[in-house]
């Protein structure tokens, strides 16, 4: 909780911002991204250059510019002391509910994994009242997990849990600890240590992403574990891929925090943005632990 003194001079009225162009710019950016992404996807495997990709990048550029400008506004309003404790609570609640929505997204993806492993693959193998499904459609199918041979006979290899995935697990757990040290030093007003620990956290995050790419290359080239090699590969890429996107977002957030810390932002009692980034990072970490358990080990 923030130190109450930090808000002693804060305005009593709730801050309702003046009209702003950024939300509309953001909506337009998302529209361009959607058009670009849809065009890109639709042109996959067709002749000619993919015209969707430049549209997609224009949209992403506008979105990033919009986010940068919007957050710059918010940061400068906050630094001017326009925000009070109640607004701080709004931000906190908003971030927590956003993380809850992210949790539900991963719940859906994990639900898919568990359904496939525990229900539909055994059913394809004839379990329950599905003996005829098995006998008539794919009599040679052997229900296993990891599913290295699909019912229609596509073969692949499973990704082991040791090696890169284990290294990445250690990296990500370590990064949660170093981030905690950074937070601790923010509260203790040790700015130099704070910068160091936060920089280490960002570096660990980037290392994780680097190894993740390495792992994908290994999977694609040596294990022939591809997007189209059945549901084992599908769930593997879907879960690690979306997790990786969230790590990327987390790294961006932490990098912004690092720059703000270097510029002398945040006080022991007023550093919501830092905490929000930290919550997000810990959330990403927890998802990885569950993912490591159920995608790699069990």
């Amino acid at each position: 909780m923030p130190d109450n003194n930090e808000y002693a001079k804060a305005p009593k009225n709730y801050y309702v911002p003046a009209s702003s162009a950024w939300p509309l710019v953001g909506a337009i950016a998302l529209f361009i991204i959607a058009i670009g992404a849809a065009t890109t996807v639709q042109m996959i495997g067709k002749e000619g250059s993919n015209t969707g990709i430049p549209i997609l990048f224009v949209g992403i550029a506008i979105l990033l510019f919009m986010l940068f400008s919007w957050f710059r506004n918010v940061i400068s309003e906050s630094m001017k002391g326009l925000y009070n404790e109640q607004l701080d609570r709004s931000f906190r609640m908003g971030m927590l509910w956003f993380i809850f929505s992210e949790v539900m997204f991963f719940v859906a993806l994990f639900g898919v994994l568990f359904y496939l492993r525990n229900l539909s693959i055994p059913w394809l193998g004839g379990e329950g009242n599905n003996a005829m499904t098995h006998a008539v459609i794919w009599a040679d199918f052997i229900p296993t997990w990891p599913l290295t041979i699909t019912p229609d006979g596509r073969e692949t290899q499973a990704m082991p849990w040791y090696g890169l995935p284990l290294v990445n697990t250690i990296i990500l757990i370590t990064s949660s600890v170093t981030l905690h040290f950074a937070h601790h030093n923010l509260i203790a007003k040790h700015r130099a240590k704070l910068v160091t620990w936060l920089a280490i956290t960002v570096a660990l995050g980037i290392t994780f992403l680097f190894f993740q790419v390495e792992e994908y290359l290994h999977a694609y080239q040596e294990l022939s574990l591809r997007f189209d090699s059945g549901v084992y590969g599908n769930t593997f890429y879907m879960l690690t891929g979306f997790h990786g996107m969230h790590v990327t977002l987390g790294v961006i957030m932490l990098t912004v925090m690092l720059l703000r810390v270097i510029n002398g932002h945040f006080t022991p009692g007023k550093h919501f943005a830092f905490e929000a980034a930290a919550w997000y990072w810990h959330f990403v970490d927890v998802v990885w632990i569950i993912l490591f358990l159920f995608v790699y080990i069990v």
């Binding site: 959607a34 639709q42 002391g81 609640m93 539900m104 459609i137 019912p151």
Partner: protein, 545 residues
Amino acid sequence: MSDIKIKDNAEQMINSTSDLHHADPHQGAEHHGAPKGYKRWLFSTNHKDIGSLYLWFSLTMFFIGGAMAMIIRAELFQPGLQLVEPNFFNQMTTSHGLIMVFGAVMPAFVGLANWMLPLMIGAPDMALPRMNNWSFWILPFAFSLLLLSLFTEGGGPNFGWTFYPPLSTKYSPDSTAMFVFSVHLMGISSIMGAINVIVTILNMRAPGMTMMKMPMFVWTWLITAFLLIAVMPVLAGAVTMILTDKYFGTSFFDAAGGGDPVLFQHIFWFFGHPEVYIMILPSFGIISAIIPTFARKQLFGYHSMVYATASIAILSFTVWAHHMFTVGLPLAAELFFMYCTMLISVPTGVKIFNWVSTLWRGSITFEVPMLFSLAFIVLFTIGGFSGLMLAITPADFQYHDTYFVVAHFHYVLVTGAVFSIMAAAYYWLPKWTGYMFNERLGKWHFWCSLISVNILFFPMHFLGLAGMPRRIPDYALQFADINKIVSIGGFMFGLSQLLFVAVVIMAVRGGQKAPAKPWEGAEGLEWTVPSPAPYHTFDTPPEVK
């Protein structure tokens, strides 16, 4: 420590009440009136303006989706193929469903929430006003993308609003990616809107406005927002897997690669069933506001209403497979989902009972909002009963995918959700515009709607029981007469809604001046501010006793 903090806050609040007109130097923009010109609407951070934008958007979508329904009913007016190709017919049923659910009903409720929640809890605005505008402006773009896909080569989405694979993967048009990304945009908008609502309700209440003093509309929206945040991400996951299955060679929903098309239905309805309650819980809140006003009695059983709403929301996560009774679920699952579904009728019954008890011995008058609310209670209950019939697994084997299902969900969505939105619009129009609406024209709108909607949807029950399947452009001859009646009801209902537009436009332009509290039996903070509500209200929180 925390006790002291609470005291400090309380002191601050009390002080701020006395500083009513001491404008803070930093907050210049806040105390001006509405900005002029296009900037007012494009760059808005005002909950009332954004609420109006949502409501006008919803009305527009209601007519676009309605026009599609007219095409559907025109084609079904007689057997055989007259007006449109079957593929186009499928695009119409799909787009009609998507537009009405995500473009008409949900934005209407968000618009009402934007307008009314801050007024009801004594807050100066929504908690996160800029994000509020973002979540609105995503919607016109999302639906432009969806509508645009109808004009692409190969046409728009034609697989039903539930987009079951393999219809939406192997057999879907090229433009499916546009559908997927437009749904993503709608989801982003909904999640941001819901976060805003939930934070506003939890953090922005005036001092003294405890949770158990909140109007039912606020309670129902709090729970609805929770449902939205919980299930919209699941929908995002579902459309993403459809996208990868269609374009990237994955086999989540393809048994040849180890997947299962039934898995999609589980994911979709895990989203879809709470979604159904997202579209009806705010209605319950509206009805719970209007019935006491015109019965001139307090709402009967406020606490039980709150608990019933929460129970419905929790149960909504345990009933999804009642949409899938015929796909070959294990027997234990069929029984579990049947009993859970029937259990929902208990808290829903509590609500109906409470409304009827509120009416009991009230001094009832029949203004337009009350007429729509009373119609809601009766007709929504009919939809609830047909829902109970559908919940019985063995019976559902006959009803599944017939017009009986169409009749059921149109009773709960049109005479339920849409009627409550109409009721809300009439109830709060004087507060929004400052003018009383034309009561006579409003009554014409009500009676025309009431009669035509029953001609439209009631005979569909018989069509379904007789075995007419849904989502078909042509049908067997024995269904001809009833389909003709249904279509006539449909055209009448469509035309009747033009009366609503007339009433709204007339009330916006002028009329008899509305007092701060135009309905004598009304209660709540929204009636303590003048009509029309000033551009900024409750800059300083009111005291609630």
